[in-house]
Amino acid sequence: MNKTLMSGNHVIGEASIRAGCHFYAGYPITPQNELTEYMSEHMRSNEGRVFIQAESEISAINMIAGAAAAGARVMTSSSSPGMSLKQEGISSMAACELPGVIVNIMRGGPGLGNIRPAQGDYFQATRGGGHGDYRTIVLAPATCQELADLTMDAFDFADKYRTPVMILADGMMGQMMEPVIFKKPTPRQYPEKFMLRGAGTGKSKFIRALLLDPIDAEEHNWKLARKYEVITKNETLCEEYNVEDADMVIVAYGTSARIAKGAIKRLRDNGMKVGLFRPITLWPFPEQKLRALSAKIKNFFVFELSTGQMLDDVRLALQGYAHIDFHGRPGGAVPTPAELTNVIARVYNKND
C-alpha cells in the first residue's frame, strides 16, 4: 500500500471522501481552512457529491442534519468559536438520532482567543456541549495515520448508533504533515427505513424530537441514555505506552500525548520510569482501563493544553485510589517535550 505525505486537515478530507462522505458543509475558520478547501475541490469533482460553503456554522450543521435525514453520509468541520455556534444543531441531531461527523480543529480560547493549537473544548465536546441530556462520541487522534483511520471509523460509529460523532483535534494536528496509508473503508450499513426519501405510495415518515408530553420525552431520553450505555460498554479506545514497569503514568490525548511521548523518552533516559495513558475516545472515556492501572500505579500526571478539563474525568476514573498531578498550558501555548520533562521530573522526584 502506498504511503502519502499529507497535512492533517487534508487527511481528514481524503479519508472522509474515501469513506463515502456525500455531503459536506463548512464555514471558513483558521486553523481548519485547508479541510474546507480540500472538500470544495474534491467533493465537486466526485460525481453526485455536494459541497456547500455555508453562510455560518449554524447553517452548516443544520445543512448536514438535513442531508443526513435524506440519507447521505455527512460531515462538517470548524474550529472552537464555530463549534460553539454548532451546538444547538448537534443537540438536535443527537435528539433526532441523525448520524454525522463533526470535526473540531481546536484553537486558543475562550472568545476569539487565537489560532494556536489548544485543547480548551474538551468539556464542550465530552459533556454534550449543547442543551439537553445527550452525548456525542468524541474521537481524539494523535497522528495523521490515526486521523485517517478514525475519520473513517467516525462515519461507521455515526451510522451504527445514529448519533453525531466528533473528531477532536487541534491546530497542530491539522497543520502537521505525516505519511499515511488509507485503509479500505467498510461498506456502509445504514437502513433505508431511517432515511427520508419521500413517501412514494407508502406510509409517510417524520423525524422529530419535539415531544410535548413529558412522559414521551422522558422515554426518549431514557432510550438515548440506554444507547449511550451500550456505546460506553463497547466503544472505548485507548493506548497504553510504557506502562508495564512505570511508577508514574501521564494521561494525555492528541497533541499533548505526542509531547508526552517526547518527554517520556527523555525521562526514561534519565532513569525515571514514566508511561503514558492516552484516551482515544474522550467520550466514552476509557475509565475502566485507567482505573485498572491504578491497581499498581499510584502516581498519575495529567497534561493538557487547557487549565484542566480532562483532569475531571481522570479524577472520576481513579476515584481517589491514586495521586494526581496536573500541568496545563491553555490559550494556544504549546510546551516543548523538554519543558514537560522538567515539570514531570520535579514531581516524579518529589513523589518518590
Binding site: 449554524i58 442534519a65 438535513g66 444543531g89 438536535s92 413517501a199 409517510s204 415518515k205
Partner: protein, 256 residues
C-alpha cells in the same frame, strides 16, 4: 348519486388541526396539500416545518418531514434538495422563524438559488410563544413585548421579506398573498401551485408569503381578523407577484 364537491386532500392525514379557530395555518396546510394532490407529488415531497405554531405540521401532512431547530428550516431543506434533486422539498416557516432568527439561512438559500419552495406565513406576531413582537409586526401594533405599540426608533420597522428576496439574483418566483376571503384563498392556492411547479421544472428558488390570521394573539375574533388582514396588513404588505422569472428561465433553459 352522491356528488362529492369537497373532500380531504390525500396529502393530509385524518387528524384534526390543533390550530386556534380562525388561524391561517389550517387554511394554508390544506392549500399546500391540495396542490400536492393536483401536481401528484405527495410521494416525492419532503417538508421541513418550523419551530412555531406549525411545528407539528408532520401530524397533518401525510408526507415525509423532518424537524428543524428554530429558523434553520431553509438550511435543512436546501441540503435535502441537494442530496435528492428529484424530490420536491419545501420549508414551512413563520415570520419569527424565517425573518428573525433564520433570516440568514433563508436569505442565503434564496441567494444560492436553491431549487426549493418556501411557504412563509406572515402573521405579524410570534404565535407559538404567546404573541410577542415579530420582525413583521406593524408600527404601533401592540404585542406582549411591544405593549405600547411597536416603536420605530426603538424597535425598527416591519420587515418586507418578499420585497427583499425579490431583489436577490438567485430567486425565481416570489409572490405575496393573503388568506382572508374565498377570493384571496384561491389566489394563494394558485401561487403555491406555481411555486411548486417552478421547483418541479427545476427553475430555482420560490417563496410564497402569506398574510395569515392569528386571532388569538391579535385578540380579535375570526371575522375581525380577516378584515384586519384586508384593511390593515395588506396596506403595509401589498399582495402581488414581486418576481416571476419562471417563463424567462424556462426559455433560457430551452435555448441553452
Amino acid at each position: 348519486m352522491v356528488k362529492i364537491v369537497s373532500k380531504k386532500p390525500n396529502s393530509l392525514k385524518e387528524k384534526i388541526f390543533h390550530y386556534c379557530p380562525g388561524c391561517g395555518h389550517s387554511i394554508v396546510h390544506r392549500l399546500v396539500a391540495e396542490v400536492f394532490d393536483e401536481l401528484d407529488i405527495r410521494g416525492i415531497a419532503i417538508g421541513v416545518p418550523p419551530a412555531g405554531c406549525a411545528v407539528l405540521a408532520y401530524n397533518y401532512f401525510d408526507i415525509d418531514m423532518v424537524e428543524a431547530p428554530h429558523g434553520r428550516a431553509t438550511a435543512m431543506a436546501a441540503a435535502i434538495k441537494r442530496v435528492l434533486p428529484d424530490r420536491m422539498v419545501f420549508s414551512y416557516q413563520g415570520d419569527g422563524d424565517l425573518a428573525a432568527i433564520g433570516i440568514a439561512e433563508s436569505l442565503h438559500a434564496a441567494n444560492r438559488g436553491d431549487n426549493i419552495t418556501v411557504i412563509f406565513i406572515n402573521n405579524a406576531v410570534y404565535g407559538m410563544t404567546g404573541g410577542q413582537m415579530a420582525p413583521t409586526t406593524l408600527l404601533n401594533q401592540r404585542t406582549t413585548t411591544s405593549p405600547a405599540g411597536r416603536h420605530k426608533t426603538l424597535d425598527g420597522y416591519p420587515l418586507k421579506v418578499s420585497e427583499i428576496f425579490s431583489q436577490l439574483q438567485g430567486t425565481t418566483y416570489i409572490e405575496r398573498c393573503a388568506v382572508s376571503s374565498p377570493a384571496t384563498v384561491n389566489k394563494t392556492k394558485k401561487a403555491i401551485k406555481k411555486a411548486f411547479q417552478c421547483q418541479k421544472d427545476g427553475l430555482g428558488f420560490s417563496l410564497v408569503e402569506i398574510l395569515s390570521a392569528c386571532p388569538t394573539n391579535w385578540k380579535m375574533n375570526s371575522i375581525d381578523s380577516v378584515q384586519w388582514i384586508d384593511d390593515v396588513l395588506c396596506k403595509e404588505y401589498p399582495p402581488g407577484v414581486f418576481k416571476d422569472e419562471t417563463a424567462a428561465r424556462k426559455l433560457a433553459e430551452a435555448s441553452s
